[in-house]
Symmetry: C2
Subunit: 204 residues, 2 copies
DNA sequence: AACGCATTGACCGAATCGGTTTATTGTGAT
DNA sequence: ATCACAATAAACCGATTCGGTCAATGCGTT
């Protein structure tokens, strides 16, 4: 592992991204060292030279992903913004920022959540608690919901937005024409549209 | 294949659903006959007794999925409804109806779209044209968009709804507490909420 | 040239692959 | 009870792929 971390960053990222992607798509068992090595553009032997074993690589990624998330969360202060949509936008920005650095990290974490392989199941529980902050659940708490029109149920809006952003995050990474900036623009536009129509006029 | 189709329907469905699920999650190559057999609760040998080969099973599923989709489409007449939200609701109902019968069918079709394995790549192209009707693209065509408020961009609404429903369809199938009725209720409520706030009042 | 070291690709035994065969069942007709 | 036979599970097959190792290679430094 010291071998790996003294590598050029560009190469580290290539290997990390390839690993996140394969584990994220296939899970621990079905993602083979060969798959990962080929996708990263290195030989299989290097994976074991860097990490010792496939399991070690997976554990490294667990730790790495946990750190990446918490680090990204520290960049954004959610306690400051109490407005519903501002929080959503901040959350989306956070996700986009993570995806910009590691496009498959959220895919990986999504898979980790459902991973059942006994070889890693126990180790997962540790990082799982750390990563659950990214859930959108916290949005509702301590948020001022009185700005919504009387006939608008905030729970429905949350539902729409959560599913909406999940739809954006999932899968798509394969797509070559995959522009995160354009993605964020679209998300922002949609959120603004909802804000304009779901809020009482005096809060716009 | 005649062997298979003379099986009790309940057993057929179990095998089909298991196959759709594994191929849908892992793709053609990574989904093994053993995986499918175990999930379906039969022995591996039966798969080859019924279908002859793994490829034959996959081709059978391609045909099966195509037929299921077209059959479901014929149940719903989209040309009658011109209202934007009515069409969306009809489309959602269609998807839910498909998922009720074969919960992993849409997952399978989504994976088929990105399948690259040379063993089945060519055969996929045939059914792909048949299945593309399910795309939400057709919604905009021939739809009366004048009902929207002036400050509401229909493209954004489409964007929201497409991603929203994609978020609903994807993944979730693992979840035990998975109630399609509740799901349809939620979708309908959300669509109604949007209709109420994005349409000019006189069209409500 | 000689060293150090990152990297490869052939290689290992074990596991799993797609697919076959054998052995055991359950069942319905006689 | 016995036969015939289809359905099924499980052992089995050669081939491939698995996680992991290692000798050989290339290549920059001195």
């Amino acid at each position: 592992m010291e071998n790996f971390e003294s590598l050029p960053l560009e190469k580290q990222n290539r290997i990390i991204e390839a690993s996140l992607s394969m584990f994220g798509k296939l899970g621990y068992k079905k993602a083979s060292s060969n798959d990962i090595a080929t996708l990263a553009g290195i030989s299989k032997g290097m994976i074991f030279h860097y990490f010792g074993s496939k399991k070690n690589l997976y554990l490294y990624l667990l730790d790495f992903a946990g750190n990446a998330i918490t680090h990204a969360m520290n960049q954004y202060d959610f306690t400051e913004t109490t407005d519903f949509f501002d929080r959503i936008i901040a959350g989306s920005n956070l996700k986009i920022a993570v995806m910009r650095k590691y496009p498959s990290l959220l895919l990986f974490l999504g898979n980790v959540f459902y991973e059942t392989d006994v070889a890693v199941k126990d180790d997962i529980q540790k990082v799982l608690r750390q990563g659950e902050h990214i859930r959108n659940d916290f949005i509702l708490s301590e948020t001022d919901l009185s700005k919504f029109k009387e006939n608008v149920d905030p729970n429905l809006v949350i539902n729409i937005i959560v599913k909406f952003s999940e739809g954006y995050i999932n899968g798509k990474v394969l797509d070559a024409s995959f522009d995160l900036d354009q993605m964020m623009d679209e998300i922002t536009s949609c959120l603004l549209l909802m804000k304009n129509n779901f809020y009482k006029e005096r809060f716009l």
